[in-house]
């Protein structure tokens, strides 16, 4: 299938801004703010979208993600900041003057037009020659596998089919940027997974940048080149899915994307102490958000994120007396060099309070020596009872910025 983005009619290759456009980001938001009444829905949002990138804006309901998308589309105007696309100032322009197209959450197909006419709508507005329109519409419909439905009316289509037509209607115009407002939210789980795969391969095929909004973190991680996590109108973190998962910047990020244990840890004189557990933690271990400017003396409280799957089960037979405090041992495992890179193994004994079968893995609720609770995820094996021994690597405990 041809790359739509390379069509001659598409990108402003001859515009004076072209050199900057190909070198810099496609879309740039600078300090964008939006208020509705007294509520500050978006606060100082600065974000770049690169050419051909699949960027997802992830957030809970009310986080402002749809508002952000609508600002880029032109359905709302920002109260502050600027929006630039390919060297052109976008805010202030009405939607019909922006080289952006939107796929709406509930498709918004024109009920009084056929599938063909729906897809052709943008082309007719743009006064493309009639001979060209038919060809491009068929091309777009074929790309979303709806070629046989050209003469149908929207009400005769299922949700998934309508979604594809909405996609074709947007893509046929060869926009520089495609906005997708939770397009898969209204589909059932199986169809949703299927569409996710198709959407991703479609995006790769046409090479158009996608700005995708969703509240589903699994969806975000599966589809995106980068994720922008939005929380209460501010960006918590903008990073690749892997980075956001493994190195969350804030407690909110760690909890929103995947599951985690948040540990409030006392750090003093190079050691991190949590309940009866402790491990070595110093300035050179600190990274990112929790790198404190405090000198390594005195006591500091640092919040760590420890993902359940990083807690491993060592022995399922009772080790030590039930309820007894386990001892955390640091093991000099392997050559000294290994310690520096992989941290210590922190071992402890905990009682399995709850075990939930999760298919390939089990979720365990652990009661730690001092009464604190940890969530662990282990490969599924028989029913566990009583006290067991667990361990995690100290480097799997990632320092995060706590929620203010």
């Amino acid at each position: 299938m041809t790359r739509l983005a390379t069509s001659s009619a598409a990108l402003p290759a001859t515009s004076p801004a072209a050199p900057a456009a190909s070198a810099g980001p496609l879309l740039a938001l600078r300090h964008v703010a939006k208020r509705f009444g007294s509520a500050q829905v978006l606060d100082e949002i600065s974000l770049d979208v690169a050419q051909g990138e699949f960027l997802t804006i992830l957030g809970a309901s009310g986080s402002g993600k749809t508002t952000l998308l609508r600002l880029v589309a032109g359905f709302e105007q920002p109260d502050g900041g600027e929006i630039w696309m390919a060297g052109e100032r976008l805010d202030g322009l009405p939607p019909y003057r922006r080289r952006v197209n939107t796929v709406f959450q509930h498709y918004a197909l024109f009920p009084h037009l056929s599938v063909f006419e729906n897809v052709a709508y943008g082309l007719r507005v743009g006064k493309a020659p009639r001979t060209e329109i038919a060809g491009r519409v068929r091309e777009a419909l074929a790309m979303v596998k709806m070629a046989d439905f050209a003469t149908r009316a929207p009400r005769q289509l299922s949700g998934g089919q309508q979604q594809r037509v909405a996609l074709a209607r947007a893509l046929v115009n060869r926009p520089q940027l495609l906005l997708l407002d939770e397009p898969l939210s209204a589909l059932d789980a199986a169809l949703r997974r299927e569409m996710q795969t198709e959407l991703k391969s479609l995006q790769r095929e046409v090479g158009i940048a996608f700005l995708f909004v969703t509240h589903d973190q699994d969806e975000a991680m599966a589809l995106s080149d980068r994720i922008a996590l939005l929380h209460a109108g501010r960006l918590e973190q903008v990073a690749t899915p892997r980075e956001i998962y493994q190195r969350p910047a804030t407690a909110y990020t760690a909890q929103f994307v995947g599951q985690t244990n948040l540990l409030r840890v006392c750090v003093e004189r190079g050691r991190a102490r949590w309940g009866a557990l402790s491990w070595r933690y110093g300035p050179r271990d600190a990274s990112g958000a929790a790198a404190s400017s405090n000198p390594p003396r005195g006591e500091v409280t640092v919040t760590f994120s420890l993902r359940p799957e990083n807690i491993r089960l060592l022995g399922s037979s009772s080790v030590g007396a039930p309820g007894a405090t386990g001892s955390a041992e640091t093991t000099g495992s392997g050559p000294a060099g290994e310690l520096a890179d992989e941290g210590e193994r922190v071992r402890f004994i905990a009682i399995v309070r709850r075990q939930v079968f999760g298919g390939s893995t089990d979720w365990l609720e652990l009661e730690c020596p001092d009464g604190a609770t940890l969530l662990a995820r282990i490969p599924s094996r028989g029913i566990l009872a009583g006290a067991c021994e667990f361990e995690f690597r100290s480097t799997d405990a990632v320092p995060v910025r706590p929620d203010s």
């Binding site: 939607p95 019909y96 024109f110 009084h112 507005v125 947007a170 115009n173």
Partner: protein, 281 residues
């Protein structure tokens, strides 16, 4: 849950009412239309003479056509006023509930009172003529303002515009706003969005409102009576006089039934058209 006997019993009163006060009169009217008047008395001699008279006597045909012209003019004007008003309220107004009430409120004022108000405004000594003369735009009172088809059209437009507004407003409110946004998103200017998306989707409302205005204006009686003058006589006035002073009930019945057939035919066509034009749930 309810027995068949109960359901049948409960249906009897409304059916009886309908039969007695609706079907029976129509049947009677039907019968009358075939009878004759001779020597000031109604004679039960069956013939089609009344229908023939309606179509061959130019006087009756003229009045019928004039009534249709007036109804058509009222419909067109009411649409021209009602649609933009409905559009403004639905799409461009911040205080739509308040303005909506303002459009409805005049309907609380009795028809008769409003018709008389127009009499006062349009008469030779009326407000409008006095104003025109005061502004030296005219030297003598303008005559055609009152007791003319003009006055009838004006009054009926005033009365029926809210009725045209209501279904159009409802239809416009029903248009999902994402459709309007999608149109803009695809490059259509607000004007183009109106012609290509909003107007087509509002047509059922337009049709409903137009039908309302046309049918009610066609059969209107008071406006032509108070303001029409000799040139503004409409078909309902003719029927009234036939049942009154002119005393030709059979002819009056025939005309009534022709009007009934006309309106029923129109409504049937409109119903079919509405079904084909309706896209939104």
């Amino acid at each position: 849950m309810y027995s068949r006997a109960y359901k049948s019993a409960v249906a009897v009163p409304p059916l009886a009412w309908m039969a007695l006060f609706l079907l029976a009169p129509y049947a009677l009217l039907f019968a009358y239309s075939f009878w004759q008047v001779a020597g000031g008395e109604i004679v039960r001699r069956w013939s089609l003479a009344n229908y023939a008279q309606l179509f061959h006597n130019p006087m009756y045909l003229d009045v019928l056509l004039r009534s249709m012209r007036i109804a058509g003019a009222v419909t067109a004007l009411a649409l021209l006023l009602g649609y933009p008003l409905a559009y403004y309220l639905s799409f461009r107004s911040a205080k739509k509930e308040l303005l909506y009430q303002l459009v409805i409120v005049p309907l609380w004022v009795s028809y008769l009172v409003r018709a008389y108000a127009w009499k006062t405004i349009l008469g030779s000594d009326g407000v409008l003529n006095t104003l025109l003369q005061y502004l030296h735009l005219t030297r003598h009172p303008v005559e055609f303002l009152l007791y003319s088809p003009f006055a009838v059209v004006l009054t009926l437009t005033h009365i029926y515009t809210p009725f045209v507004f209501l279904p159009i407003y409802a239809a416009l409110e029903h248009i999902p706003r994402p459709l309007v946004e999608a149109s803009g998103d695809l490059g259509a200017s607000p004007a183009r969005t109106f012609w290509k998306v909003i107007l087509p989707l509002s047509l059922p409302g337009v049709l409903a409102g137009a039908t309302f205005a046309f049918v009610l204006s066609l059969g209107d009686f008071l406006a032509p009576l108070l303001l029409g003058g000799p040139g503004g006589v409409m078909i309902s006035n003719v029927v009234v006089s036939l049942f009154g002073a002119a005393y030709d009930w059979p002819l009056g019945a025939a005309i009534s039934l022709v009007m009934l057939a006309l309106v029923v035919g129109l409504l049937t066509l409109v119903q079919r058209a509405e079904r084909r034009l309706s896209f939104t749930a």
